[in-house]
């Protein structure tokens, strides 16, 4: 097979150059980098145990990825025990189809921010199926209206200044929204409030999953996840299988390290959700759907992750907590934002692109953009050696090797707990 990437490289180079001359991006990135560095330094001073905790979490993640098939089984069993329903989706197509089946026809969905959602093109798929989908994270909502992909994993609309937001909102809401951040936020709040309580389904991701208890930990600041996972009658969690750790207390450690390196002392909200809402207040009869959702579903998505897990050269990429720290320290990302990316961004994103979202072909330009300078490794709480993996993947490209696409043995091992919706 022959693959000519010269055009892709040329177009991509143009895109990078354009981004590096885009004043909005430059302004936003300069602010973001400075604030990340300042806040993180301050937070680390206040919580000096963090680096040690990060080391401990490295150990937890390393083991967890090694034992991923077992943990997946445990986690699925826990979800079921908690009266939720657990599914395993081996790829993106299976994942979105499962979600669509659970949701049903002609429904409205409120959705929290999720990189996995981007990876499997969840919103686009559901919309094609006739589902009305609302991104509730402010940044994602802006991009939904702008029809663009996220430019940062934590601050997806990092590149859009308030003036542009005002323009977009004025057009969408059909009235003048001033370029004032508070007014913009208030406008979205008013609009979304109604959506939370009239939607049929809430969809969220999860930052960590505890296998022993089936607890889903979701970190957020806006409060949109609380509302979208609490108000609608159905909650679907869609989460990558790499997010599972053995115990609840492991999960708390992972969560703390995640938000600390995402520049928070403590985030506004940490949601821990493990099943449908229930009450036993009348005659001790357990009844589901008290105030929160009556139905609770978890779809564990593989989509290339177990391939990564089984290749010792790349399994460490699955330790990524998505704190975003590396991106602020990346000299390329600092000038191009998410243009250095394809769904997943930056150096670590190029590895993820190769395995789960686009393949080596889409990853190639990104892999050759990485400077292999190694500063991300210094920043990364998991000390993920991105330059090393970039080197390995470049070698594979040059040698014409492909990422093995054999049948997932993992899928077979978990087959006994994975269930089709009809069963």
């Amino acid at each position: 097979m022959k693959l000519d990437l010269t055009k892709d490289f040329a177009e991509y180079a143009k895109d990078l150059n354009q981004a590096s001359h885009d004043e909005n991006i430059q302004k936003a990135m300069t602010r973001a980098v400075k604030s990340y560095r300042d806040t993180t330094a301050e937070t680390m001073k206040r919580y000096p145990h963090t680096p040690d905790l990060a080391l401990e979490v490295q150990g937890i993640k390393t083991k967890a990825i090694e034992n991923n098939p077992d943990l997946l089984q445990q986690a699925m069993a826990s979800v079921e025990r908690n009266k939720g329903k657990a599914f395993y989706a081996k790829d993106a197509a299976e994942a979105v189809a499962l979600a669509a089946q659970i949701i049903g026809k002609g429904k409205t969905v409120v959705k929290g921010k999720s990189m996995l959602g981007e990876e499997i093109h969840l919103r686009e798929y559901l919309e094609e199926q006739g589902t009305e989908v609302w991104e509730t994270d402010l940044g994602e909502f802006i991009l939904q209206l702008k029809k663009e992909r996220p430019m940062h994993i934590l601050s997806p609309a990092i590149h859009v200044p308030r003036e542009q937001v005002a323009e977009i909102f004025s057009k969408f809401f059909g009235k003048e929204v001033p370029p004032d951040i508070a007014a913009e936020v208030a406008q979205v709040r008013e609009f979304m409030r109604d959506k939370y309580f009239t939607s049929d389904v809430g969809i969220s991701g999860a930052n960590v999953v505890a296998a022993d208890t089936g607890a889903m930990v979701i970190i957020e600041n806006e409060g949109n996840v609380r509302l979208s996972t609490g108000a609608p009658p159905v909650h679907i969690v869609m989460v990558g299988i790499e997010k599972i750790v053995p115990t609840f207390s492991d999960a708390m450690k992972v969560a703390e390290v995640t938000w600390r390196y995402a520049q928070y002392g403590i985030p506004g909200y940490v949601n821990i959700i493990s099943g449908p809402s229930k009450t036993g207040d009348i005659e001790k009869v357990t009844t589901y759907g008290a105030h929160g959702p009556k139905e609770f579903y978890v779809i564990f998505v593989d989509n290339g992750r177990s391939l990564m897990a089984r290749d010792e050269r790349f399994s460490q990429a699955l330790h990524c907590l998505r704190c975003g720290g590396c991106m602020y320290e990346c000299p390329v990302f600092q000038v191009t934002a998410g243009h250095f990316g394809y769904t997943y961004l930056g150096g670590i994103g190029s590895i993820w692109t190769a395995f789960v979202s686009g393949g080596l072909e889409k990853a190639a330009p990104l892999l050759y953009t990485c400077l292999r300078c190694g500063r991300c490794v210094e920043r990364c709480p998991m000390s993920i050696n991105v330059p090393e993996m970039v080197g390995q993947l470049r070698k594979m490209i040059v040698n014409g090797e492909q990422i093995a696409q054999e049948d997932l043995t993992l899928a077979a091992t978990v087959g006994n707990v994975s269930q089709a919706l009809s069963s």
Binding site: K2, L3, L5, K7, V335, L360, L371, C373, G374
Partner: protein, 328 residues
């Protein structure tokens, strides 16, 4: 199924030049070694002075890049130009004809870096040997760009060259060469056991013998990524400067946290590379220092290229700076 992927042609040009000519730009051995005229260094000895041809090729990289910046690599014009290179490949590299824009004074300057480095080491008491026009490039770019299979074969040639000198220690001027020889070669060439050191380490060991450099103006150090992170050499440079009595100011991002000069992306994304170089220069200039020192050929070129008109700073290699003490 194997996939044959066509990447931007510049990658293969670099690759085949290294493999065929022992140098990323197919420079002739005599050109690479021209700095050594008058030194009369023996071909055999305990300490191999290893330039890898890297400082020597700097002015040519820039003009190659300049050409590429104006030509779309996917276009006909580019292949045309590369056609010219192919013809040239047969005859070897003729700098004067193809890169007429390369000024003699630039060539001279970078050649002199090797010259000065050898001079400094000799004055510090090291007996150096040098293979002259047989010197081969380390192959660091083969490693960098993914041509690991080629490197496996190529490394053997380099090791043969090293072994012919009988040297036990290799002094690398470029941290990229040091990295690949020290960390990658042992995995590729069984039994390769020469001690690999950087220029910085060799000087650091004898820093008490360095002549003082009279200046009251502070310098700022741009740590090279390879040196600071892979090779973990950063305090050594500070010690050296302290030994010669030069005050140092530190950049906000330094040592293990140093900012890349953008050099690695020069071949494929020259414009972006230039932007990153300029930004690093700005970071370094924030310290108020007027002299920026680095110890890597690519950092040197990238930071110089990143300077804008009106910049009051000068960028120097540590080698050039230390030589001031001897020249005084």
């Amino acid at each position: 199924m194997a996939v044959e992927t066509k990447l931007p042609p510049v990658l293969d040009i670099i690759r085949s030049n290294i493999v065929k000519y022992g140098n990323p730009l197919a420079m002739k051995g005599s050109e690479v070694a021209s700095w050594a005229k008058g030194f009369n260094l023996p071909k055999r000895g305990d300490i191999l002075f290893y330039t890898g041809g890297e400082y020597q090729l700097l002015p040519f990289i820039d003009s190659l890049v300049k050409t590429m910046t104006h030509i779309d690599q996917g276009s006909k014009g580019f292949s045309l130009m590369m056609g010219v290179r192919n013809v040239l490949d047969k005859a070897g590299f003729n700098a004067e004809k193809v890169y007429a824009s390369v000024l003699a004074k630039d060539r001279d300057r970078y050649n002199r870096v090797c010259n000065k480095a050898a001079h400094i080491l000799q004055r510090l008491g090291y007996d150096l040997c040098y293979p002259g026009d047989e010197e081969l490039y380390s192959g660091a770019l083969l490693y960098e760009l993914g041509f690991w299979e080629d490197l496996k074969e190529y490394a053997q040639k380099v090791v043969d060259m090293i072994e012919r000198t009988g040297a036990k220690t290799i002094v690398c001027l470029s941290p990229h060469a040091a990295e690949v020889l020290k960390l990658v070669y042992p995995q590729l060439v069984p039994g390769f056991s020469a001690e690999v050191k950087t220029f910085v380490e060799m000087v650091w060991e004898q820093r008490d013998k360095l002549p003082a450099i009279p200046t009251s103006k502070p310098v700022v150090i741009h740590d090279s990524c390879r040196l600071a992170r892979e090779l973990e050499i950063d305090e050594e440079i500070r010690d050296i400067l302290q030994a010669v009595g030069v005050p140092i100011v530190e950049a906000f991002r330094n040592k293990k946290w140093t900012t890349c000069c953008g050099g690695p992306s020069k071949l494929l994304f020259p414009e972006l590379s230039h932007t990153m170089g300029s930004r690093r220069v700005d970071e370094l200039e924030e310290t108020g220092a007027e002299i920026i020192l680095t110890s890597c050929p690519y950092c040197l070129a990238s930071l110089e290229g990143g300077q804008t008109k009106g910049d009051k700073t000068t960028v120097e290699d540590l080698i050039e700076f230390l030589y001031r003490g001897f020249a005084a």
